[in-house]
Subunit: 594 residues, 2 copies
């Protein structure tokens, strides 16, 4: 079993050269933070994740979380690790310093969270969900609610959950049936929720559930959904824990992966109704949920990246150690890393990871600017851009994470199919990422609907122009950059072709546009990733030219960007051709003909 090493050099290069961390640190809000501080944080996080979380990953998979009589026991060692996690202050990285958080940019938190999920994705899901709860509270909770819950959620002393899904209401939240009956200054919540990540566990003394439910006098459909706080234990006025609330864990799911993460069926109100506190206004629950969505979806994309990175490290270690066959034109037996097809696999993994990291970090930087820049215009610009980027980070990084984990198994040959090897766990774990927080189809639909067809076309056009400008500005005589630039130029051409077609078909035939949506998402994601990789390469070439003394690291970046541009980016054309020629063919079969 390989050990996780946080790829800090790669991370820092992307943080500063692609995602613009310097610009973000220059904001008033981050006064006093500098590159040195960030380096120290990344270094500490690297130690914590590789020494504490990574070694608990396997036991998490093998033992899993177990439910007995409504109580959930996490795998051996996890409770202690969580305690250290809280003590280290990792839970509240990007939250309000006045509430006990570290007040760091989300961009930095993103790099740290990549480490959590690389080391132990199942563990990382607990703070991930708590983060969503904190965001809901800070955006929509009352002062009193914030005072009661925020600090202990930010510290991690308590955990948070998001309760959306019901058996008949998955992607379609309009179908939610959980009821909220008003009573004094609270409601009684009655219903059953499924797929609740960390819905019950033993890591914290209290769990604060954020629950979507329908008030008795609310309309059917999406406009009748409200959001409630339902603590596992009620909280007394002095902050101590009071009575057990009427919510219990019925069972845990038996899943393909993330066995350590308890996925609960929660029953609310078996004994009359769980006490719930309305957040914000009645019937605006779904709207509130959407304000958290960007961050949650971004985080899932980061999971795709993180598991990919871990699978890559595992595969590289195996490829270096496993001696098999001889090198071409020689009789010497060699490690399989020497075989060209193994190289191709490792390079595919590496360049996809670099591209995912560029996309995920760049988007995190845009998120910071969208909420923290002092200039309204800049905030709005970045908020619009973020809307385009989030479906790409969630949709494309999660799917690419699966591609990388799949290749990771393949590099191991027969050993990859044996569970003890560890490569298969990454494949199983990462399989959830294109599903939860909105499937890839939902992301693509959001992209073409809300973000393209129903948005100001100027937003997309501005972004395209920005990407094209990089092509124009790029030194075309630099032999390292030319193939990357040329490939991006071709991809941009296809992206424009795909976009024009989409505007047209979206007007005439929304069903065909929907059938084309995932292809469009892929074209846009590949092109944006290709553009960011060119930016990375331009900086790497400049630094290399300046003899920074870090030559091997920099040339690796150039080669990875070239590989991506020439081996992966050609897919953009295949997706565009598929879209334009024949998206309607997907709809021709009658239902009975399947």
């Amino acid at each position: 079993m390989s050990e996780y090493h946080a790829p800090i050099d790669d991370m820092q290069f992307v943080l500063y050269n692609v995602a613009g961390l310097d610009e973000i640190l220059a904001l008033d809000e981050f006064q006093g933070m500098d590159r040195e501080l960030i380096a120290a944080i990344l270094d500490e996080s690297s130690k914590f994740t590789s020494k504490i979380l990574d070694p608990l990953n396997r036991v998490g998979d093998e033992t899993g979380s177990v439910c007995e009589n409504g109580s959930v026991t996490t795998p051996p060692g996890w409770k202690e690790a969580y305690q250290q996690f809280v003590e280290g202050g990792w839970n509240g990285l990007a939250f309000d310093a006045e509430r006990g958080g570290q007040g760091l940019p989300w961009l930095v938190a993103t790099a740290v969270q990549e480490m959590w999920h690389s080391a132990n994705m199942s563990f990382g899901l607990c703070p991930l969900l708590t983060q969503g709860a904190i965001r809901a509270l800070e955006s929509h909770g009352s002062k009193a609610q914030q005072d009661t819950y925020m600090e202990r959620l930010i510290s991690g002393e308590w955990a948070g959950t998001m309760n959306l899904t019901e058996s008949q209401a998955g992607s379609d939240l309009a179908a939610i049936r959980t009821r909220a009956v008003p009573e004094n200054n609270h409601h009684r919540i009655i219903g059953q929720k499924i797929f609740i990540t960390y819905g019950e566990h033993d890591l914290t003394d209290n769990i604060i559930h954020f629950v979507l439910a329908r008030c008795t006098d609310s309309p059917q459909g999406v406009k009748g959904i409200s959001m409630f706080i339902v603590p596992k234990f009620l909280v007394n006025e002095d902050g101590t824990l009071g009575e057990r609330n009427d919510v219990r864990c019925v069972s845990l799911e038996h899943k393909l992966g993330i066995h350590g993460s308890p996925t609960a069926v929660l029953s609310f109100g078996d004994e009359g109704g769980a006490i719930g506190y309305l957040i914000g206004e009645q019937n605006r629950g779904l709207e509130y949920m959407f304000t958290m969505m960007n961050l949650a979806r971004h985080a899932v994309g980061v999971e795709g990246l993180a598991v990919a990175e871990r699978a890559y490290q595992h595969a590289v270690e195996h490829a270096r150690q496993r001696v098999q066959g001889t090198a071409i034109g020689s009789r010497e037996r060699v490690a399989i890393v020497q075989h060209p097809d193994v190289r191709r696999m490792l390079m595919t993994m590496k360049s996809l990871i670099d591209a995912m990291r560029c996309l995920a970090y760049y988007s995190a930087g845009v998120f910071d600017l969208s909420i923290r820049h002092t200039d309204d215009v800049v905030r709005q610009y970045n908020s619009d851009l973020l809307g385009l980027l989030i479906p790409l980070v969630k949709g494309w990084c999660s799917e690419s994470g699966n591609e990388v984990a799949y290749i990771g198994v393949q590099v191991h040959g027969g050993m990859g199919f044996i569970e003890e090897t560890g490569a298969a766990q990454y494949l199983r774990d990462v399989r959830i990422t294109p599903i939860y927080e909105g499937t890839t189809g939902i992301q693509a639909n959001d992209l073409i609907g809300r973000k393209v067809l129903r948005s100001d076309p100027e937003i997309l056009e501005r972004f395209f122009t920005k990407m094209s400008q990089t092509v124009v500005d790029c030194d075309k005589d630099n032999p390292h950059l030319a193939p990357i630039r040329d490939a991006l130029m071709v991809a941009l051409k296809h992206l424009r072709r795909a976009t024009e077609w989409l505007y047209e078909i979206g007007r005439d035939n929304p069903s065909v546009a929907a059938a084309a949506s995932v292809n469009y998402m892929n074209v846009l994601a590949l092109t944006v990733a290709g553009w960011l990789m060119l930016n990375m390469a331009i900086d790497a070439a400049a630094a290399n030219g300046a003899n920074s003394g870090n030559g091997k690291h920099l040339t690796a970046k150039l080669i990875s960007a070239k590989f991506f541009a020439t081996q992966i980016l050609p897919r953009a054309q295949a997706h565009t051709d598929a879209m334009i020629d024949s998206s309607s063919v997907a709809l021709e079969l009658e239902e009975e003909q399947f």
Copy 2:
């Protein structure tokens, strides 16, 4: 949990219209066999697989085969099912009627085996391995060896295994260390073999191991490997079972999938040496292994197809039942099969399956002609063609089977990640197919090396010409066929471009050719599959025009072929571009830079 239904209509259409079963049935050897007989066999097989094997698939996954003190117990119900399998005569379908087989074409056996693996891939592996053993015996065994083992292997009363892999010898069989020490009229075999499928089990009274080992006076490397028969129980002269041989099961592997199939570590000679009987001549073991390889690799490609078909049926049933969201432009809640992106996913699955079936069946027909046609020239032509096709069936169908099973999980949304749903098992089971019997990289290497660069270029050229001729002959005014024909024309252009480049680079730089090999395999497989789909569509259009009364089935074929041509086939260009532009980039990184 859905029930398996063998897609007999689809199978028959491909058997007769794509793979030329009529021509094969016309061979002397198959006198007396006609369409009616074949239909009866497929019908019986359909019943057996859906009623007996399919219901045992889940328990196979959940309980798995278990090893205790060297004895392996297969999952509950499997022993009885195997008994029925033997009684039904399914084990010896395509083997010599004089030895108790059914003497059917391999093409028909392929369709039957697709059913086994769709219903229960783990179960199907037992007869699959026995088949390999029978092939070894009938090709290279002595008359006495054949007399002792053949009939009971063909009936299935005994099972066979293939013992190749050792921990240091996976893809690289040159590294085999298991020793064979001569003694009287046999050898003593000493060594350890791993990854032995059905290496030990309780389905049969005896297990006949076919073992690669190195004689004490043999050279190192591939030229010093011999093949031995090592029965679990020695066989007395009268055919009764004698003493237990010195081979035992050390343990079973804990695998990602195919839990029902026991994957054993076998130890030979712990008590002095297992008795083994040399097959054919000393030092020709690897050569003998290769004569079986075509069939074994073909069978694994069929597994990819089979699991894909099962995953598709499961996904279609879910998509028809699961109500979620409203149709575009309506307020009516609909089953998700109505959503365009779900349509796209199901069509991708369906058209990939149709394409895989065309490729796998067509190749099986070529195999029959290569061994059973009376004309030497025809046999040689088909043998050459088979050499090209096998790496495609094994490589591309197994990878595509994974793609389909992956989409199958996605169609289920969150439910797909829950093991009880069953979709995840297909993903786990099929993951082995691009690995065993030679990884995808090994297939691609065999294709570009032995089959292209080191073969008579005329073989490839003749095949290309044949495909091009179909394009020329195709009625380009038929609106159903035109888009399929046009897409194939484009793919053929890229295939020629890729091939010319390959010949050139293969001469100058074999390492770069090797780095390009998987891309080339994909270009060739996609194009051949596209060509076969056009053949299928031409016949479907003709039959439809003739008002055969089977219109819905025929239009479904046309739509599937069109979807494949326009949505999947464009990948051929992406693979070609990737190959030609930059295969060398895969080799630029130094080992330490990974």
